[in-house]
């Protein structure tokens, strides 16, 4: 098997074609890339963190209005999308595994599946957005949210402004998440292209690993967004 490469046996004379000039050995390069990726994901956490902070404050202040607004979403579509992303995470770990084992066909297959699942997610998201547009639930001048009762309080109507804050956060959070998905799909398309040309092998597969980390991170964000946005007070 080719994974018997022992770290430290890379000789200068066998300079790996993918080793950049300023690194001493491939292991150092790979470790740098993975640390860099993790730190980047840390910045992403804080980026979404500001939104989660705003969400937390307004959800606590306007719980009933948030519940009313949340229940205009379809939890079925949200749950489906969660399942789609979880499946795509599985195909991503398969891709990383295949790249490390040098299994080109499996790698290409997993990448294709991942991209398809990514598009499936975006497709479902797009139908949800379209519905929101039709119902005038998009914040802005034409926003409408009148006479929607607060769950559990049939005679109390949700506050339009507070519901608009919910939808603003909904669109910004899921919109940025979708943007990350689009970037991820773009990156995976590039990976697919590179894998097709046989660039990855057991010695060099860092881009697949990094792409995988990114994809899983985007998955994790959704794992939180789903219950926070779709499942507020659903039992009422």
């Amino acid at each position: 098997m080719s994974d018997s490469t022992v770290v430290g046996l890379h000789h200068e004379e066998q300079h790996h074609p993918e080793l950049l000039h300023h690194f001493a050995e491939p292991q150092q390069q790979e470790d740098s890339a993975s640390l860099g990726m993790w730190i980047f994901l840390g910045t992403e956490v804080m980026f979404f963190g500001g939104l989660f902070c705003a969400y937390l404050i307004y959800r606590l202040a306007y719980f009933g209005d948030f519940a009313a607004a949340s229940q205009t979403l379809s939890w079925k579509l949200g749950a489906t999308n969660t399942a789609v992303l979880i499946c795509s995470s599985l195909t991503v770990v398969f891709a990383v595994y295949a790249a490390q084992q040098g299994k080109r066909t499996m790698l290409i297959g997993s990448l294709v599946l991942t991209i398809i699942l990514g598009f499936a997610f975006l497709g479902i998201k797009a139908t949800e957005y379209a519905e929101k547009f039709e119902k005038h639930h998009v914040p802005g001048p034409s926003f409408q949210f009148d006479n929607v009762p607060v769950p559990g309080h049939p005679d109390q109507m949700a506050n339009r402004g507070h519901a608009q804050i919910y939808f603003a956060l909904y669109f910004i959070m899921t919109g940025l998440h979708a943007l990350h998905m689009i970037i991820g799909i773009g990156f995976f398309t590039w990976l697919l292209f590179a894998a097709w040309r046989g660039r990855f092998n057991p010695e060099y597969n860092t881009p697949v690993e990094m792409g995988g980390l990114y994809w899983h991170f985007v998955d994790i964000v959704w794992i939180y967004l789903f219950p926070l946005l779709y499942l507020i007070d659903l039992h009422k």
Binding site: Y62, G64, V150, H153, D155, Q156, M157, N159, H162
Partner: protein
Amino acid sequence: MFDNFPLWPDRASAAAGNVDALFIFLLIVSGLMSLLIFSALLYFAARYRHRRGVLAEQIEGSTPLELTWSVVPFMVFMVIFVWGAVVFFKSRTPPRDSTEVYVVAKQWMWKLEHSEGQREINELHVPVGRDVKLIMTSQDVIHSFFIPAFRMKQDVLPGRYTLAWFRATKPGTYHLFCAEYCGTQHSGMIGSIIVMEPAQFEAWMSGSPAGPLSASGEKIFAELGCVTCHRADTPGRGPNLEGIFGKPVQLEDGRTITADENYIRESILDPGSKVVSGFKPVMPTFQGLVSEEQLNALVAYVKSLSQPAATSTRTAAATQQDNSRGAGSQVQ
């Protein structure tokens, strides 16, 4: 000379002395600290300047010394913190029987209204020795009500009330500034605080007679039809407002909240958000229907319903404001 070049601001309120005392303490502490650091620095710089053939003596460090100069400053800091917190708490807690002045800030002017009804713009007349509580809100952006001579500052926010208070101690005219940047004419949003002797102040007050704010609030209360639901005589569709101000209120969702100025304000503008237990959320919003000034009057009126002397004030108000409605429709 010091008219044009003062080095210390006027001290004209009860709080000013507290702030100045802490400030002077800090001046001394930081003076001593910088004296210590700078003299050590200068002494070492002179004593250990480079001399040919003399090598520096290497010293690794000293944990006891490090701990000393971490812990000792921290103790000093804690003294400052506690002192500062005490001064702050005092400046944030208006005494119970303060006179109230409602402040509405807008780009770029201050509108002030005494609870006795006198209105002023960019000027506030107050007597010496009386506690004055400011109930402030803004019509547009964030402003900040700043009286340097009173060492008093509080941001004035749109959409809610912020409170501040002072007790003037020295007659005179003092600056009022807007301290939070609020747009083009920010530096023009200034005014004066005129502190007068009580007798003079009474004379000034009677010079411009006006009905108390709570009376105009009562009028608005009736005009907007609030009285039809918020009744004191029979159980209405809304809670009886008599005596609720400052008391805890049990809400529909189980929370308990103190009925303060902000709660009354919110209940008028967003009635559905904090419904009193046992009532239905049927009250319509008055957002956009009442101005900030009318809102202040309504708040003043609801508050007057909880004051022990309320009855007498209201009767006085009712006789003064002898108009538009019979005594029968009054909330009792």
